[in-house]
Amino acid sequence: MLFSNLGYYALISGLFFSIILIPIAYRDLNFINHSVNSNILKIVFLQLFSVLLSFISLVISFINSDFSNETVYKNSHTAKPLFYKISGTWGNHEGSLLLCLLVLILFIFIFLLTSKNEPKKYKIFTLLFQQIIIIGFFLFLLITSNPFNYLFPIPVEGLGLNPILQDPILAIHPPILYLGYIGSSIIFSSALAAIMQNYVDKEWAKNLKSWVIVSWIFLTIGIMLGSIWAYYELGWGGFWFWDPVENISLMPWICLTALIHSIIVLEKRSLLASWTIILSIAVFTLSMCGTFLVRSGILNSVHTFANDPQRGIFILIFLFILILISLFVFFIFYQPKKEEQKNYLFSKETSILLNNWFMMYFLSVILIGTVYPIFLEVIANEKISVGPPFYNKLIIPFLIPFLIFMTIGPNMKWIKDNFNLINIKLILLFIISVLLSYLILNKIGLNGLFTTILIGTALYLFFITTKDFFIKKQINLSQKISHFGFSLLVLSIVLNGIFSSEIITNIKVGEKYKFKNGSIYFEKINNSKKKNYLSVVGTFKIQEDNNKAVFLKPELRIFNQPAIVTSEADIKISLYSDKFLVMNLVKGDDYYNIRYQKKPLMIWIWLSTILLVSGGLINFFNRK
């Protein structure tokens, strides 16, 4: 009660600071002095402090299980472990928005602190644009999603946190993802500010690059955690499902990845300035678009937040205001500098541009696949669902040239290079890779020209990036690690996709199911009462080929608050392959439905993503 009030008024005072900040900052634009008025930084700090206070109040309300607070009542329960009480703070719509707001203000504060040598007006414009976003979030919170609504009479018990969200990985997945999404707000604001100040040049690119990399790192980790969660907790038996919400996080990621590359061209060669600006604006717009699609309930997905059209309308209007502001600024104020530098066909610049084109192609495929069903339903009243086949068909064929260009591009020189890069050794290596892939496929009894070339190209990229490690000519370690990580990622995903196998059957205790070269035996079932759920654990003995038998113990958790059954897969992880078993209830029967999967190289998907991120981290810490 006390903390709810404190949190609410702290939030309102945060909005108040925004309102007084705008005229002060605007006035400061006209003063000639070189540094930003020190009061501005103080006000931003106060704003940060009030929102932090508000956030902490909400956390405390969750810890104390203060059910007079509506958000706590709806998302918590006294029987929940402390850790999940805390993570419950951002596991719901209201709390997560408050966290977003906190991050928005934190980032602009850090931006103002760290950008000492940049032009004053540019900094102030960035602050102003960022404050527009911040005010939008404040209004959204206070008008439609107040986290501090008061309930009377005070309920004795809360409704509980959705059990599938009670997972340690998921407790940190949202905040990290938000850091990535919201990090891109700084890119957006500073791009608009750079346009206003005609500051779109090498210096700007150099300074902005670290923000791009930070957002990219958080977004990559966030997506990876989400995908690990889907694999281990949801028991979906895979790591990527082209679910709309997954796509929504992938779109800004692709855009950021393109931006990382194009901003280097701007920094080194003063080329691609307009393109970099467009990407910078697009990243945040895509993030907001994602927020709209997830929070408005317009999509049906696992990530269903509260389904409230009023919220949807608010975000929609806010999103389009942002789009219109950026269009207005871009078309009215942007004066492209004459690009004096000539761009040659065989140069690093061109190869990066090519990379960007591919990225944009992948991005548009995903965008269309995600948004088109909504448009079609409104226009033609027809329901369609776009699934993996659509994405696979449109993306995989283009992956082959993309991977081939990726072996060549990074080794090209800036400005101008020649054909010498493509020499007989590399062609030989490519042929060897394709042959190798043919042999691998042949051994398993699969064939097909397309798959052979796909695996061959992935292998080829893998060999090239490995080779690049041992060439001391260039010192760009971060790029080598990230590219190596990416090649490993592609290789693991492709092999995993092709060699995964799956068995689905209904089985009861004491039964044995035989398949091609092995068997599954259902030994026993154990029930036990846990703190806030009933646990049902099955024991399965799996005998394959002539290997030692493996025991897998998948679990069903039957929760009472709210009443939900979740299934926990049991997974035996090894370097080569994961064995994955999940069971489900069959209504009113002694039978359980089981799904047994062998997933080769799963662990390498996570490891390679970690490599990808480490490349980014090295770049970030090495930037001086």
């Binding site: 408005s296 789009i323 339903e377 226009i379 209504k587």
Partner: protein
Amino acid sequence: MKKKFFLLVIIIFVIICFVILFKGLNKSTTYVPDGISGKKLISFDAKKLFNNDEINSDLFFVGNKFYLLNIWASWCGPCRAEHEILMQLSNNPSIKIIGLNYKDDLINAKKFINELGNPYSEILIDEDGTIAIALGAYGVPETLIINKNKIILKKFIGPLNSQSIKEINSLLK
């Protein structure tokens, strides 16, 4: 000039997107399985909970304008939660509520009714779950809204809530 034209085109495109998404927001995304709504209710035989008479469903769905068939069980937590809503609905004279007790212990089922009140004008029992399967139920609780011609108007999967009450009331008009 070219720039302004370009801006205009983009703005028009953006506005179209806005309108479409805005309209999309007001569409209901609740998923109703195909082939249930609009179909005629099957006829089945069932025993009554309180006096064990066997009766054919055709004799049941007679004389009222609307029927609500609720599949429930005493062992099902969400059924307990939705019971309050059914009690409220039972005050509405234009709808007759029929319960189908699914795979339950009859003593527990009677206890459940005695404890929480009886919103049903009649309770049928489905001891082995076959009727529920024939009705296309996925689990308990589930609720069918049926009109006087025995056409299924709507199916609610999971417990009823205040939102579903609104939907039911709009169906009854």
